[in-house]
């Protein structure tokens, strides 16, 4: 798997920003200090500052992963290959889909990382898939935002492309499979709940191979991309909070197996061609 940052990405990466009142504020502060020392080429001091971050139970995974990345790079640059290997292994254990940020431009570091990844995450390392994608700069609530993903290499290895998205502030991601638009291109339509106020949707993209193995990513769970969503679609009280929706859902939940089957048949969105949906043999 190669670094797959898309040249067409037109959205901003959500920075790992420090918030003074966040539970992991101390870890984020230490990370910021470690990044500063790393940038100043104070590698030993950077490692010293970053080690506590990796042990901080309150630190978000993104923070810990970033700390391991900097530790590994710092150790490698200082010639501590064993220590660098250990840091990369821990990093990949925390995030098997991690993609090395190309900050150093060193092919030797990349080869070193790729070798470790081949051992730790062989399925991902065996692939040779590169992704790029384009997304609109913004969207309006109540509709859908379309994301275009293209495999610039290894498209034939890709069995599925999935967009994992969440509203900013939510913990978990939801999956939105992309439909194939060509041999090497996929398109996903991510639903945007109606809202009276603007919000943001975070997302990352995964190309998956056989057995669901992640072959390539654009962004990651910990460093997702973001799309600002403008207010729209009616907003107000969430539709799922309305009494009749809740009542209807309860009735549906009590339905028979037939309803389940019906629901299964309705999972695919209607197509763009009239009549939208057809049944081959009714």
């Amino acid at each position: 798997m190669r670094v797959a940052a898309g040249a067409l990405v037109a959205v901003a990466v959500v920075a790992v920003a420090a918030h003074a009142d966040a539970p992991d504020a101390r870890a984020r502060k230490a990370l910021a200090e470690g990044e500063r020392l790393f940038a100043d080429q104070e590698y030993a001091r950077a490692v010293k500052a970053l080690i506590p971050v990796t042990r901080d139970g309150n630190a978000a995974r993104a923070v810990r992963v970033r700390a391991w990345e900097l530790i590994a790079l710092a150790r490698y640059i200082d010639g501590d290959l064993g220590g660098a290997r250990d840091a990369f292994e821990r990093l990949l254990e925390a995030d098997p889909g991690f993609q090395l940020r190309d900050t150093s431009g060193s092919p030797r570091i990349r080869a070193f990382f790729d070798k470790i990844r081949a051992e730790v995450v062989p399925a991902a390392a065996a692939s040779d898939v590169d992704l790029e994608h384009a997304a609109p700069r913004g969207a309006i609530a109540g509709g859908k935002v379309e994301l275009d993903v293209r495999a610039t290499r290894g498209a034939d290895e890709v069995r599925a492309v999935v967009v994992l998205y969440r509203r900013l502030g939510a913990l978990g991601y939801r999956e939105q499979p992309a439909r194939s638009a060509a041999d090497d291109r996929w398109r996903a339509a991510v639903p945007l709940p109606a809202a009276r106020q603007a919000y943001a949707v975070e997302y990352y993209v995964e190309a998956r191979g056989t057995a669901g193995a992640v072959l390539a990513r654009i962004a990651s769970p910990d460093t997702p991309l973001s799309i600002p969503v403008g207010a729209g679609g009616g907003g107000g009280r969430p539709w799922y909070g309305r009494w009749y929706v809740i009542t209807g859902a309860a009735v549906l939940a009590a339905g028979a197996t037939g309803a389940v089957i019906w629901a299964a048949s309705g999972q695919v969105d209607d197509g763009s061609l009239p009549p939208g949906r057809v049944t081959v043999t009714p």
Partner: protein, 439 residues
């Protein structure tokens, strides 16, 4: 999209969820593709099917487009799509649908092709007259006729099969989607009328008849209304029969103005010669120059004789084929000439130049018919001449065609994906019957 608890439960219950079918093309819309049709059929003979035509305008003026497809009682289905430009077929594509995942059917500039050595299947008895390909549920078949009999030729299990064509033989035929359901029906000139036969699975059932004698037929959407129209020719008369999309045809006596240059129709073909997005008509005659009737740029469907499009040399035409022979996507024309070598007219800005002598191997054999199709997947159209023996010519764009192979003696030839593997094959019909050459 089906990886959910609901889908899993449905699967346990023995049902399959729907999938998304995407129709896509690398052809520009509408410059290279302005209409299409989509067909879906249960692979089981007794199963259902779906077919519909679409004009690529308004909200459909872009590709890809999608359709949600639920299997119902089907285990698997075949999908095919036909792309049109200026009212004539310019591209075809097909795909399988097993409902295990989404599917894509493409109608691209370059057809698919398979590699490997050519395989000739054993010949089966079939008429050696005019032959056409018909696409529809169950895949493509070839229909061949002579004056007394007709046959439906198909490939099953790696061998050719033939079934008699209902109604027998005829004088001329054309295969086209005459009722807008995306399968190719037949119009057959016989007994002083033109009979319409609807495609039904791999066969045909009788439809209405158009009361006119004809020795040549063509089909195209000349007025751009999304419904294919019929053009019949006999003697000095060429008549437009406007289709209503449901299988009805009404003569439009004033639609064609040949300007007195048509005396003896021998063959017809449709294509956009001047690139204005409206179908034009090519008329081959028994002893007169090939004539172009250009479609009204206003889209009314009127066709008017246009002198100077073809060279004014008289030819005894046996067959006319319109299509791209040099890979530039415009409409060129190849004709088979009685008692002489075929002629190749290459389109340059709407003028059809006779490039036979620098594009075809010389001396070219006398051919009774021709077929155009990319057989080797290099995105350059190839040619097959129905001669004795038939000659397969390899195309290389602007470069001359070169002889690729000699095939069985033939009076007719069709380039068609007979085994539905996505790549064109060649069906050669001659004294020995029908021979299928595939990879």
């Amino acid at each position: 999209m089906r990886c959910s608890v609901v889908a899993a439960l449905a699967s346990l219950a023995g049902c399959q969820a729907g999938v998304t079918l995407t129709i896509d093309s690398d052809r520009a819309v509408p410059a290279e593709l302005d209409a299409m049709c989509l067909g879906i059929a249960d692979r089981d003979v007794g199963g259902g099917s779906f077919g519909r035509s679409y004009r690529l305008i308004d909200r459909l003026a872009t590709l890809p487009q999608t359709l949600a497809v639920e299997p119902g009682g089907a285990d698997a289905a075949s999908v095919w799509a036909t792309g049109y430009r200026a009212g004539v077929v310019v591209a075809r594509g097909s795909a399988g649908l097993d409902f295990a995942g989404d599917a894509v059917v493409r109608i691209d500039r370059c057809p698919q092709a398979r590699g490997g050595a050519a395989i000739s299947a054993a010949a089966v008895a079939a008429p050696a007259g005019p032959a056409v390909a018909s696409h529809g549920p169950g895949g493509a078949v070839v229909v061949a006729i002579d004056a007394s009999a007709g046959a439906i030729v198909d490939a099953r299990g790696g061998a050719l099969t033939t079934d008699p064509l209902p109604g027998g033989g005829g004088d001329a035929l054309v295969a086209a989607d005459l009722d807008g359901d995306c399968d190719d029906d037949l119009a057959i000139a016989r007994g002083g009328q033109v009979e319409i036969w609807w495609r039904q699975r791999r066969g045909f059932v009788a439809g209405p008849a158009v009361a006119t004698a004809a020795v040549a037929l063509a089909a195209a959407d000349v007025d751009g209304d999304g419904d294919l129209d019929l053009i019949t020719g006999a003697g000095a008369a060429v008549t437009l029969w406007r289709g209503d999309g449901a299988g009805g045809f009404a003569a439009d006596a004033g639609a064609i103005d040949p300007r007195g240059v048509i005396t003896a129709v021998a063959a017809l073909a449709a294509g956009d010669l001047d690139g204005d997005g409206h179908a034009d008509l090519i008329v081959g005659q028994t002893a007169a120059p090939v004539v172009a009737l250009l479609g009204d740029p206003g889209g009314t469907g009127a066709l008017t004789g246009a002198p100077g499009v073809f060279p004014a040399t008289a030819r005894a035409v046996a067959a006319v084929v319109a299509g791209d022979v040099d890979g530039d996507l415009d409409t060129d024309v190849a004709i088979a000439v009685v008692g002489g070598g075929p002629r190749l007219f290459v389109n340059r800005g709407g003028l059809l130049e006779d490039r036979s002598f620098d594009r075809l191997p010389q001396p070219a054999p006398t051919a009774a018919a021709l077929a155009i199709g990319d057989w080797d997947g290099d995105c350059q159209p190839d040619l097959v001449l129905a001669a004795t023996p038939a000659v397969a010519l390899h195309g290389a764009g602007d470069a001359p065609f070169t002889v690729e192979a000699e095939l069985a003696a033939a009076a007719a030839v069709v380039a068609v994906d007979l085994d539905d593997d996505g790549a064109d094959d060649r069906v050669v019909l001659g004294p020995a019957g029908a021979t299928w050459v595939h990879r």
